[in-house]
Amino acid sequence: MGNRAEEDYNFVFKVVLIGESGVGKTNLLSRFTRNEFKQDSRTTIGVEFSTRTVTLGTAAIKAQIWDTAGLERYRAITSAYYRGAVGALLVFDLTKHQTYAVAERWLKELYDHAEATIVVMLVGNKSDLQQAREVPTEEARMFAENNGLLFLETSALDSTNVELAFQMVLKEILTKVSKQRQSSSRTNAITLGGAQAGQEQGPGEKRACCISL
């Protein structure tokens, strides 16, 4: 877990992992936060989360990644946790076209419950299974471009692009935050639960907070 005492961070970014059941959300999370891949991972019931602090340039960012159950029935529970998220990874399984075909519905679900400015990345997972691919890279890339999403193909199994995917999302959020700060003298930051840990760290930028974009 990311509860390291030495953690010193400037921002807490809440990022949600969404997508159909069985696309590999939980393993993407465990690969990113613990560098683990579990062959026998269990289904996610409700919501779970893990954190990891990464350094981007001069900023230390605590990524609070919320993993959600993919089953439609659980959306009654999980969608409540989209609130306050500044980033989202919409994951599909590139060996199952159906998980990609519903991306639009997931996007709608996300925008219904989260801020419109949320940074979203479309992630085609299981890229290690090239021979079983059902979603062409270009098709997914086009969809992402048309909808203003970032796009990357990953493999939680062999680690390909997992680190990069999260970093890209966090970097994009950071860029948005920086722009926002430049355009407004007043920091439009709200402090959510869990941010108190960093509040004693110092004034100004050194204050940990979840950013509302």
Binding site: N3, T43, G46, F49, Q64, G193
Partner: protein
């Protein structure tokens, strides 16, 4: 477009079913583990879970626990022999809260849930549900996906499509049509997996049915869409926290950790995966005996026991502790935890907050269970998913003349509880909604439909005599489709409802529909339409699978499920005789199997005579 979709669904369904129903060929991953390789025994822990490292010899404490367990098992055997006397006694309750020895756990659970009685009352219903589910279950894909993720580190479920995975798959499938309001919901697979560690397949089904519908457990409300009971329990948990653990509640609130974040698995699955498995099983002993009050009390107990530590943790630490750390071995012994649990239950009862307010109507089943739902016409399509029938787009339309859902009227023996009827306090084995027998004559019964169609299914291999009209390089070569188990089951007299004297569902007045003209498909060589070549995920059988997991990675079985070998008649005979895991154990493995209690107790369970209904003293 719709037809394509239906075709795809039928193909997909047939493919999934074939995986679970075909006999495991020699050289399949299971075989290596079924050989007398004793190193596996040391890799399997007391509960049947596989360990990465060889287990050390028993510590003196563990050895003592084992001896104690054996002594307790003797006492339980005595109690089970005279259940009418001991069943409702305080002695049994006291012993149960010390933990039921694994050797007898299955029997105890079965008796507490009144399974022998329910099973004998509804003889044949499980098989019927199972067969119907194979034809019409909407959740089959999700169930298949989740069976692959359920207790894969347990010796029983590590083998993909192995005997116990088949049982798990079929129980979930059958329940999804038995109770279509709940259908299948993630979380149920772990529960059934846990039940299957100690119960036979049909008993596990009825155990699930009882857990869902008994007043004391009423898990229906936990898994019904919207999770109404979960919300009610989480609200009540907050009330208990406010009353009893005010300081901790304040801390959790400040950190932003709501009850919804950490109690979902606690309540939906009674702590499966959130406490060490040994403790989880003991909690399940208590849960099966005392029902939902164990959930509220244990949630309170967990937080009370770790209050001081939790008060020091920030949000991430809190979540990590409640999510992961608690699943590691506890400093406190299981028995001590159970003592705390009992004390908490008594305490909360004194404080009049051991249970939340009664359930609202949204938590109760609205339809009778075990009923017919869905369209017979659509079902007819799935009965014979030969590629030829699926490929003929025109034929498809004629097979589905008018998709209409039959709405059977109220049945004479309908026992659905009235929505406004409040839940009674105390233990009762009366289900909220009793499993129902088929309706009066004239009620459409899906299971009756396939009668004549299915009897022709085993002949499918013979249908390939025609000329292949499909292109030679198509993704799916023309082969007869694997039959559903229902097909072969029905071909044998024992499984035919009419010949089974105990089949309560074979209503004499039932009209057996005559086979329609379209039913007589099968005289042409099956082929797949062009359009399905690249867009049908299920037909790409030669794809390397991610399904295998566990410490022993073996090559994919080369049986008919995975290769293009035609289905021969001799192979067909094997379809229903998968080698049971327990029978393949040699004598040298038996001592190891004793650490997996269920293996030895499965047969033991099946013939228990119905016990008198259990009544709580509380």
């Amino acid at each position: 477009m719709n037809q394509d979709l239906e075709t795809l669904m039928a193909l997909e369904r047939a493919h999934i079913l074939a995986n679970y129903t075909q006999a495991r060929p020699a050289g399949s991953p299971g075989d290596a583990r079924e050989s007398a390789d004793l190193s596996l025994c040391r890799l399997t822990d007391h509960h049947g879970f596989l360990q990465e490292k060889e287990l050390p010899a028993l510590s003196p404490r563990e050895a003592k626990q084992h001896r104690q367990e054996t002594r307790r098992a003797d006492k339980w055997v005595k109690m089970l022999g005279n259940w009418d006397h001991y069943g409702p006694s305080e002695k049994m309750r006291r012993r149960l809260y010390k933990g039921v020895p694994p050797q007898v756990r299955g029997q105890v659970w079965a008796l507490l849930l009144d399974i022998p009685k329910v099973k004998s009352t509804h003889q044949g219903l499980y098989e019927k549900m199972k067969e119907r589910a194979q034809l019409s279950c909407k959740d089959i894909k999700q169930i298949d996906l989740d069976v692959n993720r359920t207790f894969r580190n347990h010796i029983m479920f590590q083998d993909r499509y192995g005997v116990r995975q088949q049982a798990l798959f079929h129980v979930l499938l059958a329940y999804s049509v038995y109770n279509p309001e709940v259908g299948y919901c993630q979380g149920m697979s772990d529960i059934v997996g846990l039940l299957l560690m100690f119960l036979g397949e049909e008993d596990a089904f009825w155990a699930l049915a009882q857990l869902m519908s008994l007043e004391t457990h009423a898990m229906h409300g936990f898994f019904a869409p919207g999770f109404p009971k979960l919300a009610r329990f989480q609200r009540h948990h907050d009330i208990i926290m406010e009353k009893e653990l005010k300081g901790l509640k304040k801390h959790l609130d400040e950190q932003g950790l709501s009850a919804g974040l950490y109690t979902t698995k606690w309540f939906l699955q009674c702590f499966i995966g959130r406490t060490p498995i040994g403790l989880t099983l003991k909690l399940w002993d208590a849960y099966i005996l005392d029902g939902e009050r164990v959930l509220t009390a244990m949630a309170y107990t967990v937080l009370r026991l770790h209050r001081k530590h939790l008060l020091k943790l920030p949000l991430e630490g809190l979540q990590g502790f409640l999510q992961d750390t608690l699943a590691q071995p506890w400093a406190l012994e299981d028995e001590a935890v159970l003592r705390h649990l009992r004390a908490s239950m008594a305490h909360l009862r004194r404080r009049k907050c051991d249970l939340p307010p009664p359930a609202g109507p949204e938590e109760l089943p609205k339809m009778p269970l075990g009923q017919e739902h869905g369209s017979p016409a659509l079902t007819a399509l799935f009965l014979s998913p030969t590629l030829e029938s699926l490929s003929r787009a025109d034929g498809l339309a004629s097979l589905v003349p008018a998709t209409h859902t039959e709405q059977p009227g109220p049945l004479p023996r309908q026992a659905v509880i009235k929505a406004e009827q409040p839940l009674r306090e105390g233990r009762s084995t009366q289900p909220l909604a009793a499993p129902l027998r088929p309706g009066p004559p004239g009620t459409p019964v899906l299971a009756q439909l396939p009668q004549q169609r299915c009897s022709s299914l085993p002949n499918l291999p013979g249908h390939q005599g025609g000329v292949c009209r499909g292109p030679v390089d198509m993704a799916l070569r023309p082969q007869p489709w694997a039959p559903f188990p229902s097909a072969t089951a029905r071909a044998t007299p024992v499984a035919t409802p009419q010949t089974s004297p105990q089949n309560v569902s074979g209503s004499p007045g039932m009209r057996t529909p005559q086979p329609r003209k379209e039913d007589a498909v099968g005289h042409e060589t099956p082929f797949l339409p062009w359009g399905l070549r690249s867009s049908c995920p299920c037909v790409r059988l030669d794809r390397p699978s991610r399904d295998t997991c566990g410490p022993v990675q073996s090559p994919q079985p080369q049986g008919p499920a995975h290769a293009w070998a035609p289905l021969t008649a001799s192979w067909m005979r094997n379809v229903h005789s998968p080698r049971p895991l327990e029978k393949s154990l040699g004598p040298e493995r038996l001592w190891a199997a004793s650490t997996v209690p269920c293996l030895l107790t499965l047969d033991f369970l099946e013939d228990r005579t119905p016990a008198r209904r259990y009544k709580s003293l509380t």
